[in-house]
Amino acid sequence: MNTPACDGAIWDIDIARHYRHGQRRFDLALQINSSAGRLVLFGPSGAGKSQTLQMMAGLVRPDRGHIRVSAQTLFDSAAHINLSARQRQLGYVFQDYALFPHLTVLQNIAFGLARGWRNPARNISHSEVERWLLALELQPLAGLYPAQLSGGQCQRTALARALVTGPKALLLDEPFAALDRPLRLRLRDELRDLQQQIQLPMLLITHDEDDVAHFAQDIVHLAHGRVHAKEQS
């Protein structure tokens, strides 16, 4: 195990945000400091896991605090730093994958590589795209649309799309929740092996204890918008 100093932590998160939806109020305030390559936020639905991930990605702004990933500051309310989602260079795998329905698997994966206001061509050829098509066994599916894919194939496509731009870290929102059990176990092992292979920091949120046991290096238990307990496995 690598044991970096406090300031060498991969995940340095200290955020607070007040949510209001009509009569309902919700306060989220948590501090996470971890140097684990595979960090898991675990908790029941409504604990604030997804909100935390959205703040990490820059989709929602915390009221105050800071977010640092691998010593790079993404957000710091005191220093008036707030990088936009596109500046943060993080990969994000959405719970229901959020694949672009009007683009093929190949175009979905190449999406982040194409700059400008036009989508990648249907026959785009790019070494990084090839690499992930191969690594995630998506080559035979390259020309298909998301509506034609199974759950596991969608998940791999979403993963490839997030990895192809070379992100600094990967955020995963319940990536196995939509899959049946055998597939879930296989993809979880694959993701763990992949993380060990490419040494990319991953932050995964889940409400499944199995995911925790088989994937996590560090676990943060969330409940009611607070850190409940921390442990290392």
């Binding site: 260079q89 959405f94 009007h102 206001w117």
Partner: protein
């Protein structure tokens, strides 16, 4: 019977320009109202929808007051650029644009609201600009809804009568569109001219509907499994 063809071409020119203007205006306004919450949004939505429910002659009157030679916009255009819109085909385009605008705007707003916001977020996280999110995700996914609004707008602009008559008048070969020409022919007792114009109008509408039918399924076949 050259007059009938001239009226047809003029009608297509006016409706075409009105549809093109509404493509830009309706999509921009529809997108803004679908994505930005601000105080008075529902009031603005209601005002922008008014042309759909108000009598076209009332709209024509408003337009005359605004862009007429003594109106604030009309006198400014006249003094600054020497432009006069009353009794011109450009005036007819403005009338048709406003009358047909809610059809595009409403369709565009609904279509943009139906796009899953998570897809737009996914695009942002992947590092593309806000403009690219619009052109690469929002617009392609909303396009079918917008297209159906545009076709309705074209049909509505083709048949526009009241506001056009008040703003552009009925000058044969210059501002007399098909629907106005039909009215004039019947008034003058020229039943044969009226019959030809009506036939021409019906064929044009049928052609538009057939074209619409050809355009729409092209998109769906791409997404159905092989």
């Amino acid at each position: 019977m050259d007059g009938a063809w001239i009226a047809l071409l003029l009608t297509l020119k006016v409706a075409g320009w009105a549809t093109l203007l509404n493509l830009l205006l309706g999509v921009a306004v529809g997108h803004a109202l679908a994505h930005r919450a601000f105080p008075g949004r529902s009031v603005l939505d209601a005002i922008l929808t008014l042309p759909m429910v108000m009598p076209p002659t009332v709209l024509g009157y408003y337009l005359l007051v605004l862009i007429g030679n003594h109106g604030p916009l009309g006198s400014w255009l006249q003094a600054t650029f020497g432009i006069n819109l009353i009794f011109t085909w450009q005036g007819a385009v403005i009338a048709a644009t406003i009358v047909a605008f809610p059809l595009v705007f409403k369709a565009a707003r609904a279509a943009f609201e139906a796009v899953d916001p998570q897809l737009e977020q996914a695009a942002r996280v992947l590092g593309v600009s806000e403009l690219a999110v619009f052109f690469r995700v929002s617009l392609p996914l909303a396009w079918r809804g917008i297209l159906s609004g545009l076709l309705l707008a074209f049909a509505r602009a083709t048949g526009e009568f009241g506001a056009t008559l008040m703003v552009a008048g009925s000058i044969p070969g210059k501002t007399q569109t098909l629907s106005i020409a039909v009215f004039e022919a019947v008034q003058a007792g020229q039943d044969d001219v009226a019959a030809l114009l009506v036939g021409l109008t019906s064929l044009t509408c049928l052609a538009v509907l057939l074209a619409a039918g050809k355009l729409a399924p092209g998109y769906t076949t791409r997404q159905t499994p092989r």
